[in-house]
Amino acid sequence: MSTNQATLVIEAGRTERHYWRDLWRYRELFFFLAWRDILVRYKQTVIGIVWALGRPLLTMLVFTLVFSKLAKLPSGGVPYPILVFAALLPWQFFSSAFSGAGDSLVSNAGMISKVYFPRLVIPASAVIVSFVDFLISGIILLGLMIWYGFAPSLRLLTLPLFTFVAFAAAMGTGLWFAALNVKYRDFRIIVPFVVQFGLYISPVGFSSTIVPEQWRLLYSLNPMVGVIDGFRWAILGSNTRLYWPGFLLSFTLVLVILVTGIIYFRKTEKTFADVI
């Protein structure tokens, strides 16, 4: 440790300067928190990490049964379970990351009022936790594709891009809700509602092609529509077409939410310890 370190100045409205550097310095904490949450989640459970596989699998089965067998919705030549799962993957990632991040600050109140670190670490690590689940669920999709002998096209290589959009959507909304939740505890109640509601207005159990053409753009105001369509486009290959105007609209919205989320979070962050 050198003694000729830069002087740290603490002043009203001046914590900005070292923020991103600090965030980098605390990158280990970031992984430790994610690691803690993953570890804790499956402690004292009998089948442990298998739960991460069980939940999406069961949801997929129910959706297939309801939408394909009972409602007889079209799948566009793709095995319905794969159609559902390609959407379930980003949706479950988004919903768990969003609610995890939204709740993260309040549930870590003790740390916030007693230790300094860039607060962004907390919601970000909550998103990471869900991302690990997302990767595990990916194994199921792989299994399904092998089961149905479904070969993906080269478009699969674009999947990281859509994953990034899902990530940004979860992070942006998560930051907004996390920061708002500190001040207004109402958001604790709003979050589960948004998640439940979102499942119905997002094309998870069905393909968004069943939405009439003139409503597609309006439908894409739901950012998850773009994300899910993108996932299907990348995974299902030539059987689907991507509705580009809709995707671009969703994508722009996601970016706006992310950027404003970061700005709002940074603005209110300094008062967290006083309010929480």
Binding site: M1, T3, Q5, T7, L8, V9, I10, E11, A12, G13, T15, Y26, E28, L29, F32, L33, R36, L39, V40, K43, Q44, N108, G110, M111, I112, S113, K114, V115, Y116, F117, V182, K183, Y184, R185, D186, F187, K270, T271, A273, D274, V275, I276
Partner: protein
Amino acid sequence: MSSVITVENLSKKYIIGHQKRERYTTLRDVLANGTKRLAVKMRHPFAAPQNDSTHEEFWALKDVNFDIQQGDRVGIIGRNGAGKSTLLKILSRITEPTSGKVSIKGRVASLLEVGTGFHPELSGRENIFLNGAILGMSKAEIKKKFDEIVAFAEVEKFLDTPVKRYSSGMYVRLAFAVAAHLEPEILIVDEVLAVGDAQFQKKCMGKMEEVGKEGRTVIFVSHNMNAIEQLCTSAICLDKGQVKTKDTGVRKVITTYLQENDGQRHKSEWVNAENSLSNPWFNPKHLAIIDSAGNAIDSPIRNDADIYVYIEAEISELDPSLTFGFVLVNEDGVQLYRSYQTDSAQDSWPILKNGNNKLKCKLPKHTLNEGNYSLEIIGGLYQKQWIFEPGTGSARVGFSIQGGLSESPYWHAKRPGILAPVLDWQLT
């Protein structure tokens, strides 16, 4: 020597709501208040906006200035609500000041609570890494210190047990051990030594002293004056958000603080102004606790100071069977001892005379424990009658013992027990 911490005009304001108990608002309140204001505005568009009377400003810190030099060990004292914790929170960047400026040189580690971020479900080993990361240690650093931490905490056997199964003592030991092995240039410690048993506290103090001796800067908040005196090289006393005293003489700061802080005990001097208690044998005029220079002591007394009981009395009818003295009572009302002027061999008794008699009696130092005491004149004619029966409210003074319990590096705080004598230990 250079300043590592410079605090200039530091202030912190909190808005306190009077009706709502929660610190967070609910959206409903915001919407309701907003609507109300809008309605008022529509009815009286030109009225001045009303002040929200449920909110009040509270300055937790106001214009605080001080410097801390490299290697200083600074004790911060003050009553509850004086702003100590707010100051530490600002220095450790948990909260932002409202105005003013702090410049800090070097890596700061603050320990405002033992075991922040500990997760009950995780094992001791996992918690060491997690807590270390929260306190700002890198993984490599923790790995390097791991064995040392475990040894300090004495939890080798339970490393893989979830900490929820730990005894509370083990929990605290482990938590402090992690924090104690941070190697910051500036260590900020809030009252963490208040937890754990005496032995653990001793260990903590030892560790903090070690940290200080390595030339690091330590800022330490405590209500334990002995600990402050033992550990610190200078002290700052806060009162109502402002610096009251700061000095390199720790004892001086502590004494000033304690003086202003005891309003409840009896006065240390009693003067018989109304000439009550009048009797021919022994008529007390003046009772006081004095120092060796003869001045009445009004402040808390260190346990290693020489103090005397001073009695002045008028005798108009000298009776050979007169015995008088005092009874010493602690704050729980327990009589510690009585003493009479006739306690020793008869040839060493003080020779009294008709008229005014002034006597003093030395109280043994290093005998009483910390606390408040009262001392009351008692007396009588031997085997005949009481003049002042104990507990009947004759002349009475009070004093308090604070600090100076021992010179030992292992004895910092008030021990349980009525007395706290320092006895002599020798090999035989």
